[in-house]
């Protein structure tokens, strides 16, 4: 009896082991769902200039060049992510820093295309200028497979950037007044060194510490994340840098005032050779105090006059 039970027991174990072995062997024939990204459930397109990107064409490039940091699922949890600061972008949230569109809206395809080509300074995201334009457009389409927002929402509308007025010492002075009034200095510091009173407390939307931009460091523009032209700087504070503490000022700054602020921000780049610093130098190197223009004519107080806002 005992022997019989033992035989039954071992044969049960044997068949279990056999079954397990068979399952394991069978799994090798099954579609590979291990370390590789699953096939995207949907195909997305991107449109950049005359190019049309197709997500299915970017699968190999994404796996080879992007997944190591951004992860197979696009959630920013690639195997290298733990070593990186700032953390790789999580595409599943569809929140992007460098946009030409209003805060809270999706970027344009071109915004993402440019970011891939530009890289992100002060991060581990390199300049991917080794890709062809078609490869970049395909990757933009691939990135769009990670968040359902790309199917539900349209790309945001690019904000309008009016022509830049000439740089004058007045525009720099007014820009400085705005820098104070809008509390830019609370994070960026009075000299734009990124050392304002709130700077040390800042975290991004994933609770990672983040530093405000230091305008004064470096001699050129190469450290601007989202492009280094005056138009790019204009866009930064009008669109905000989503996912970070940098808000949008689109509802609160008039276009001309925004240009004045750009002119002042350029003077914070003390080592940079540019028209703004030339104008400042010609004016004696000191920014004069800004005088509100409306307050100069108080002859008859009027409601309309008070709402002028300076310009």
């Amino acid at each position: 009896m005992n022997n019989l039970k033992r035989v039954q027991f071992f044969s049960a174990i044997g068949s279990f082991v056999l079954a397990a072995g068979f399952t394991a062997a069978h799994a090798q024939d099954a579609p590979d769902v291990g370390p590789h990204p699953p096939e995207p459930a949907k195909h997305m397109e991107s449109h950049v200039g005359g190019l049309t990107g197709h997500s299915q064409d970017a699968k190999m490039d994404y796996r080879r060049y992007c997944a190591g940091c951004h992860g197979d699922l696009g959630d920013g949890n690639g195997e290298n992510a733990q070593w990186l600061d700032p953390k790789p972008r999580d595409f599943t949230m569809a929140t992007f820093k460098c946009r030409s569109t209003l805060t809270g809206t999706l970027p344009t395809d071109e915004d993402l295309f440019n970011t891939i080509g530009r890289g992100l300074t002060n991060s581990n995201m390199p300049i991917w200028n080794t890709f062809t334009k078609q490869q970049r457009a395909d990757l933009v389409a691939y990135i769009k497979t990670f968040s359902p927002r790309w199917e539900k929402e349209k790309n945001g509308e690019p904000i309008k950037v009016p022509a830049e007025p000439p740089v004058t010492i007045d525009s720099i002075a007014h820009g400085k007044a705005l820098f104070t009034k809008l509390e830019c200095w609370k994070c960026h510091g009075p000299q734009g060194k990124g050392d304002g009173p709130s700077a040390a407390t800042l975290t991004d939307s994933k609770d990672q510490p983040i530093r405000p931009y230091n305008f004064a460091a470096g001699a050129d523009d190469s450290r601007f994340k989202c492009g280094s032209t005056n138009q790019d700087i204009y866009k930064i504070f009008m669109t905000g840098v989503d996912g970070t503490p940098m808000p949008s000022f689109a509802d609160t700054i008039q276009p001309n005032d925004a240009w004045d602020l750009v002119h002042f921000l350029r003077t914070l780049q003390v080592h940079r050779h540019g028209k703004e610093n030339d104008v400042l130098k010609a004016a004696g190197g000191k920014i004069p105090a800004y005088v509100e223009k409306t307050s100069q004519a108080p002859a008859t107080p009027s409601v309309n006059g008070a709402a002028g806002g300076g310009k």
Binding site: E183, S198, L202
Partner: protein
């Protein structure tokens, strides 16, 4: 005489059943244990706000009242209720004295939110949602209200990064049956037609609890929630 009363009752019940059988779920939220001590906030760097607080304020992660009552708990019907549309009127969220007033607001999905700056300083309003698009806007003194809405239900943490002590919550829900506990920890969910309901109580630090309640008619059901205080 005797027979006429039920007749009238039946007539009224047919005409306006909502009024006849409007149940209420009410109760109180308390805590057990010792809540972590709230940290004092120094607004010395923002004098215009600092002078509005003769007695120093503290963080509001856990706000308690007498007899172990718990404030800022969002109590709402999470299942069984009607999926009514968003109310037409907006909910206002005010920045006053460099604080969010109130600390927690409840919104229906799609309901208008008005963010108002009542201060002499600029704020940035930065909700950090997971299921809705994230935005972040500057609001200098005297600016018009920021008008926004959220389409998906979730509890959204909101911050001002210029004043890092400012922290609040948007409770975006798919119901209009919601009550946020104030001083005394009480809540009341009126106008509930007969049915089986799940009531959820959410606290930003202590998490969520649920209870099932059945309303059979014109009655008030009393339920209480008790959260265990976190020691850290």
């Amino acid at each position: 005489m005797r027979a006429s009363k039920p007749c009238i009752a039946v007539a009224i019940a047919t005409l306006c059943p909502a009024l006849m059988f409007a149940g209420t779920i009410s109760g109180k939220v308390t805590y057990t244990g010792t809540p972590v001590k709230q940290k004092p906030i120094s607004m010395a760097k923002e004098p215009s706000c600092d002078k509005q607080h003769p007695t120093p304020i503290t963080t509001e992660t856990v706000v308690t009242g007498a007899n172990n009552t718990l404030e800022n708990v969002v109590v709402y019907i999470s299942a069984g209720g009607d999926d009514a549309n968003a109310p037409a009127q907006a909910v206002t969220f005010t920045q006053k004295g460099c604080q969010y007033v109130p600390h927690v607001i409840a919104l229906h999905t799609g309901q208008e939110l008005h963010v108002v700056n009542g201060d002499q300083t600029s704020h940035n309003i930065h909700p950090m949602p997971k299921a809705n698009p994230e935005w972040n806007k500057s609001q200098p003194p005297g600016s018009p209200a920021i008008v926004q809405k959220f389409d998906n239900p979730e509890f959204i943490s909101v911050k001002c990064q210029i004043h890092p002590w400012m922290h609040g919550w948007f409770a975006v829900l798919k119901t209009n049956h919601v009550s946020i506990t104030g001083d005394g920890g009480g809540f009341s969910l009126p106008n509930l037609p007969p049915g089986k309901y799940t009531v959820t109580a959410w606290h930003e630090d202590y998490g969520t609890q649920t209870q099932d309640v059945t309303i059979t008619g014109n009655e008030t059901k009393s339920i209480d929630f008790s959260f265990k205080a976190k020691a850290y």
